[in-house]
Each structure stands twice: as structure tokens, then as C-alpha cells.
Symmetry: C2
Subunit: 468 residues, 2 copies
């Protein structure tokens, strides 16, 4: 058995046989602290390779150097599930000839597994690895916890290169991705900046509007009929969502409710709920803070799950299919309950589905928390600029001025009315907002197509157009 350890990234890329026109992939667990994508793309550019498809589970503004690689035709196509605002603005301004394909965290592994988006060379940023490529995110100076999104890349790419800054003796105890998928291992000085990888603590909101929404959200859950033993839950890492998790914990402890699991991106608040007995398990596809990283390393009930296990519609089943309640955000919601998380109020790309559509489709109760307006622009609108998640999958919108229930869920509507919650109509929320902010002159992005929004089943559900 020859060693997989190669001295340089360049050598690994050469050995993997990367050529112009091929596809490379990256995962995003190092988030805005990631060094590897830029490191690899710079090396590839230097080698004269061009016209690559870049398949990244998410892209952050630390990846802004991609701009030059796009301009120089090193990268000609992007597939991703999320893109932060800096890169998003460039794409919206027409940086790329080919539209970006946005997928979901479940749709990406689906399309990789089905061969719709084949990967030639996958680059796995691994906080710990042995010489054979048994690797994990749980250990090392760049520990990020779960490597969930990297599993489809490792399993289906033609060649797999592990990049690590913490090479340990064989075998790494507690690997996530086994050596069976890994072709080459490269040691580098640092794969990321810990400050950008995980925040020390994620914080609940102190904003009174956020707190009101969080309280209302928990009341909706409490009266939904779902909050009982076996309850399962997911929430994002936004301030109001975290506040909702904390208030929910109080209710579950008070009423002695023993939930089954919480899933998705995991924060310290969910770790607290696990440790307090609110849930038996955490199903973790990505750690959001240091407390989550410490927990997944040490608590056998805090489980790493692959992106397939999390959300893939091509899997025999996935965790999202078992969700009772998910709390999600929105930049816009329309009167049909369609949700936009891709573009901002000016029409610029500044996000993406991530697991939004997947959890909304799977959960029994998909809840949007959003303030009525942000920066004097209303959130509720006649038609979202971009449909990220179709209204059919959303059950309820919680704002600081009331709760709108999707008419498809009459049972929920009755339950919330019976409970005396401030139930209202979408139209009413829209008018309330517009009374305060005035009717906005909505930005219209009507240029050429710069991005396609591909739902989790492979259907294109919207197109994002260029601005300016």
C-alpha cells in the first residue's frame, strides 16, 4: 500500500488528474474562517486549469477572492446552497456568464448521488486526519464539529483530497469520514481561522421585537398539539430563533416534556436542551458554536449526520421527514406564504435555502419568524422577489404584530384561535406594515438570469435576475 500523504496541494491536484472543464467541490463547516477553498483555487489557477464547475455546499465572503478566478475563467459555473452578501452582490451584478445553480442542503446530496452534478475532485477540509484519510471535524486547532455536508462529496467524487492542519497517528480515533473514500492527504499550516469557524457563543436577541416574536413562537408551538413526549425540533441560529429555543426549553422543563431530537445546525442552546433532558438526541449536520463542538466530541447522544441523513430526498428517509416543528427566517414572505431567503430588499443575492426548503417540506409545523419590517421595509409583500421555499410548505408566520396561519392548516388555525393567540391575516399584516413604512417602491431585478433556484426535488422554482 503506497502512502496517500503527498507533500503539496499541487501534487495532490496533479495526482487526482484535475483538468480544465472538470468539477471540484468544497464543504462549508469552516464557514467564514475557511482557508482551504481560496488556497485550492489559487493553486488551480496557477496550474492553468480553467472552466471548472465549483460545487460548494455554501460560500462566504471569505471566499471573495473567487471573483478573480471567475473573471479569469478558472471558474465558469457555481453550484451552491448559500452565498453571503459580498459574493451575492457580484453575482447579481452579472459577474458570471452562466447562472449560479442554487440548491438546498438536501437537494445537493441528492443531485450528487444521482449523478446530476458529478464531482471530479472533492476537497475535504479536515480539522483532524490520519495518513490514510480517516478524518473528523471534532479534533484539532481548527475543530468545527460535524462534517455532515462533506459526506456526499467524499462518497461520490471520483477523487477525494483531504486537507488537514492536524495530522495524527493512524488510526484517528473517532473518524467521521473513513479512509475508504480518500485518495490523497495533504498537510497544511492552517485550514482556517478559528475565530471565523465557530463563534465562542451564539447569543439570544435582546431586541424587544425579537423577544416578542420568540415568545409568540413558543406559544404557537405549545398550542400546536405537537409539543408532547417525542417532540422533535429544529431552529436556526438567528437571535430570535435562539430566544425561542430558550423559552421552549423553559416550557418543556416546566411541563416535563421529553422530546426525541433536535436537528440541523446545532448551537449551545440545543446542547443545553439535550443536557437538560428536553431531547434524547441531537442530529448534527453542522456545529454553530464551540459549545456544540465540545458536545459532539464528548456526548454520545450528540450525533453527527451526513447531508443525506439530514435532508436528501434521494435517501430512503431523512431526519427532516421526522421533524415536528422547524423555526425558519425570511427576508420576505408573501400573501401566499412563499418565502424568500435568497435576495435582499434590493434584489441582491445575500443567502440561499440551506436547509430551509428541506425542513419546511419535512416538518409537521413549519414556522417563519420575521419582524413586520426591517430598515423601514416591509417583510410581508404581495409576491416575494424570489421563491426560495414554496408557500405550500409553510404553516405559519409569526411577527411582533400577530400570527398568520396558512389556510391549508385549518387545524392549527383553530388551535391557535382557541388558545387566544393574536391570529390575523397575511393581508392585515401587510397593511399594518405598510401603514408604518409606507408602500415601498420595490426594486426590480429584471436583467438576465444570474441564478436558478432549484428545489430539493430537482425542479427549478425560480430565477434570480441581474441588477444594474
Amino acid at each position: 500500500m503506497e502512502t496517500k500523504l503527498v507533500k503539496t496541494l499541487r501534487e495532490a491536484i496533479e495526482l487526482a488528474g484535475l483538468e480544465s472543464g472538470m468539477s471540484v467541490s468544497f464543504h462549508h463547516h469552516l464557514r467564514n474562517g475557511d482557508y482551504t477553498l481560496n488556497m485550492v483555487m489559487d493553486q488551480i489557477a496557477e496550474m492553468g486549469i480553467r472552466n471548472l464547475t465549483l460545487n460548494a455546499s455554501s460560500l462566504f465572503d471569505t471566499h471573495l477572492p473567487l471573483e478573480k478566478h471567475i473573471r479569469n475563467h478558472v471558474v465558469s459555473k457555481i453550484n451552491t446552497n448559500y452565498m453571503s452578501a459580498g459574493l451575492g452582490r457580484l453575482i447579481s451584478e452579472g459577474l458570471m456568464e452562466e447562472p449560479v445553480d442554487f440548491r438546498t442542503h438536501g437537494g445537493r446530496p441528492r443531485d450528487i448521488a444521482l449523478g446530476i452534478t458529478p464531482i471530479d475532485v472533492a476537497f475535504i477540509a479536515a480539522p483532524a486526519s490520519d495518513c490514510a484519510g480517516n478524518c473528523s471535524g471534532k479534533f484539532g486547532p481548527s475543530a468545527c464539529g460535524s462534517l455532515g455536508y462533506a459526506f456526499p462529496d467524499a462518497m461520490y467524487a471520483k477523487k477525494v483530497i483531504v486537507i488537514t492542519d492536524h495530522l495524527v497517528e493512524y488510526p484517528l480515533s473517532g473518524w467521521s469520514i473513513p479512509e475508504i473514500y480518500v485518495d490523497y492527504v495533504v498537510e497544511v499550516d492552517a485550514i482556517g481561522n478559528p475565530a471565523g469557524i465557530v463563534s465562542g457563543t451564539t447569543k439570544i436577541t435582546r431586541d424587544p421585537v425579537g423577544l416578542i416574536m420568540a415568545e409568540t413562537a413558543v406559544k404557537v408551538i405549545a398550542h400546536s398539539g405537537l409539543l408532547k413526549d417525542g417532540f422533535s425540533f429544529q431552529t436556526g441560529a438567528g437571535g430570535a430563533s435562539l430566544a425561542a429555543a430558550r423559552f421552549l426549553m423553559d416550557v418543556m422543563l416546566r411541563d416535563n416534556i421529553k422530546g426525541s431530537f433536535a436537528s440541523g445546525g446545532i448551537t449551545g442552546y440545543l446542547v443545553d436542551m439535550l443536557n437538560a433532558g428536553c431531547f434524547r438526541s441531537l442530529m448534527d449536520v453542522q456545529c454553530f458554536d464551540l459549545k456544540a463542538v465540545e458536545s459532539i466530541r464528548t456526548n454520545p447522544n450528540h450525533h453527527e449526520i451526513s447531508a443525506m441523513h439530514y435532508a436528501s430526498p434521494a435517501a430512503a428517509s431523512a431526519v427532516v421527514d421526522k421533524l415536528d416543528v422547524v423555526i425558519l427566517g425570511a427576508t420576505e414572505v408573501d400573501t401566499q406564504f412563499n418565502v424568500n431567503v435568497h435576495t435582499d430588499s434590493s434584489g441582491y443575492i445575500m443567502g440561499g435555502s440551506g436547509g430551509h426548503s428541506d425542513t419546511a417540506a419535512g416538518a409537521k409545523l413549519a414556522m417563519i419568524i420575521a419582524p413586520l419590517f426591517r430598515a423601514r421595509l416591509p417583510i410581508v409583500t404581495d409576491r416575494v422577489s424570489c421563491i426560495s421555499t414554496p408557500g405550500k410548505d409553510i404553516d405559519v408566520l409569526v411577527t411582533q404584530r400577530g400570527v398568520a396561519v396558512n389556510p391549508k392548516n385549518q387545524e392549527l388555525l383553530l388551535r391557535l384561535k382557541d388558545a387566544g393567540l393574536p391570529v390575523t391575516e397575511m393581508e392585515t399584516l401587510k397593511h399594518t406594515a405598510e401603514k408604518i413604512t409606507g408602500t415601498p417602491k420595490k426594486a426590480v431585478a429584471n436583467g438576465r438570469a444570474v441564478a436558478n433556484v432549484i428545489w430539493r426535488d430537482g425542479t427549478q422554482i425560480d430565477t434570480i435576475r441581474s441588477i444594474g
Copy 2:
């Protein structure tokens, strides 16, 4: 999401679409305590399905009811890595029209992954499962520990049916095989008889010949140049092999040697070595006793590995590639160091490669321990009746009357001579044995082909012929 839970095995088989001429698979972690294979095959027979290919990682005498399914043409072909003596005798007597294909524990997952032996419906006997098929061998009344050999079946079969006698709330904490691969889950009263699944304790030999061999084996290891920090080791569960493990532990503790891992089928003796600090990790594809089951459930350094991770030549790398020393058994060894573990001295099938060829190919030092004769029949012979593992992969034979080193390994020969070990020649061992036992009249199995021996790379290396 519809439930995967179905009420009866029959319903699961129908839903999976099993038809005559297809292939079904089973894993053998419940060993001679397994109820599931007979249960499934009886059901299939009752449904009138015929001409199946049966792909089982191993078959035991508890599976003797297969005889009637073969006679009734329910099963027309068998692929397996091991077959115990009762079934073996029937095969050697010509029970089946088509030869059995014997593979290795690494060759089987290779050929499943490559589509050479496709599986239509895999049956996973799971000591614990939730309703979605997240399952494990670590929990429940029929706990068997690792489910390593079942992974390729789960991952590559067209349909996967989990059979469990311990259905737990979703999600099972500590699953081995994730729900993403599982189509149906069936609950039954019992999947196996715990007494046959794992022995309470595996015992080292008290036979003086075995003890002499074990002592010599450890001296060979100690003087091989391999016994140093980072040392990796595998041994079987035979009495002399276990004694060797225990003596090796004494040496490692005395000399403060910190090994890296022990692998393969795991016994309590290897668990003791892990706990004593002789190894950092156990890489466990199958638990042989209750102590191993308890350890894999509770010790995070005791790892379950899939059959691919253990030994597949189709994997990017496997654990066997990293082995320093493996201790293996033999029913015969010839002067070219070829080893037979398939047939007994009368030519009847009574075993199979299991991981024999895989570990021999991977290990730096592949050692055979065997007494010079058994039941007055010499073990060393001019030509083994069946080549299970080719002599090129064997480094040394240890007997109670001396040690023969394969001439290909001159370094080892010199080291052992320098150390004053009783080094001798194969021819000498053969003559010594024959002086005691007389020259045997060797049984000749010269009928039609009843089994093919397929090496781990897919090459057929021998044919076993019928007797009588």
C-alpha cells in the same frame, strides 16, 4: 413520509419486489445463533419464489435447513466467505448443481460495490432499530456488537429490509447503519439465540502444544522488528491465537510498547489489551464475545468498521493494509507456504477464507500457527488440497517443533536465526510430522467442481471438487 414499519416479513418481501431469479443477502454477526436467515428463506419458499442467489457473508450449521431450500430449487447459487462443516459436507457431496463461490471478507464488499454480485434484497438482522431503520448491533437482547459485514449489503442492495427484535423510539442513539439505506423494518419476536450469538468468554488454550506455539509466536513477533510503538495486530479466536495475544500483552506491558490498533474479529483479550494501553484503538468488524460487545458499546476507542473499511481492495484503502502482524490458522500448509482453510483432511468443505487472505495480503508479517499434526494427520504437506491463501502472502509458519520462514522474507529469517529461535525448513517439518504419523494416504476430491475459491481481487485461485 410513509412509515417503513411493516407488520410481517412476508409483506416486507412483497413490498421489496423479490422475484424468482433474484439475489438476497445476509450478514453473519449472529453466527450460530442466527434465526433470521432460516426465517426469511422459509418465508420466501412459502411464497413460491425460486432460483435465488444467496449471498451470505458466512454460513453456519444453524443454517442447515438451507438443504431443503436447495433441494427444492429455492436457492440455486451460493456466494459466501465461510461455511461450517455440516453445510460444507453437503456441498462437498454434490448437493448443488452450481458451484458455491467462496470469496473473502474483503472480496465480498469489493464485488458487491463493483456490481459483480449485485443484491436485490438485503436482510439486515439488527439487534436494535428504530422505525426508520437506523440500526445497530450494540443494544437489545440479541446484541452482537459490530455490524461491519452488513454495511455493503445496506449500501448497495436495491432494497434493504431490517429485521429486529428490539424496536426503539426514533432516533436510535448510536446507530451503525443509517436510515438512508433502509426501505422496510420488520419487528419479530427474536432474531437470534444469544447463547449462539456470542460466547460468554472466549478461552485461551490449555493444551501444552498450543501454549508452546503461542509462546513461539510471540517470540517471532518480538524479534521481527515490528514490535515497537505504533504496532498493529490481528489474531483469530482460536485457543492458541488467544494465548498468543495474552503472552503478547505481557511483553508489550513489560517493554512499555504503545501499539496503534488491533483489528478484525474482536475478543475480550484484545479488549483487555486496549484497556491496558497496548493499543489506542480497536477496529472491529465483528465481536466474538460479550466482553467485546460491552466494550464497543461503551468505549469510544473501540470502533466499528465496515467490511469495506476492514478489507476491501476496492476501497481507497483499508485497515488490513496497515497491519503489522496477523496470526492465522490453517488446516493444511504446503511447502510453498500455500494455506488451506476451506477443506478438512478428507477434502470436505469446513470453513473458508473469511479475512484470512485479506489480512495475509495486507500485513507486513503474516504468521500461520498450526500444530504439526491433528488427529494423527500431518498439517504440512507437499500440496494443499485447496489454496485458500497463496504462499506468497505468508511469511512464517509456527509449529510446536519449529518455525519455518518463507524464503521471500530473508530479513525475517535472519532476525529469527539471530534471536536463536528454532528456525527450520518446511521439508523438515513435513518429515518430522510424517515420522510421527506415517505418510498419510491423502483423500482425493476429484469429482465435479462444487466450489470456486475466488481471491480478494476477483481471481479464481482454486476449485474444490466433490467427494463420493
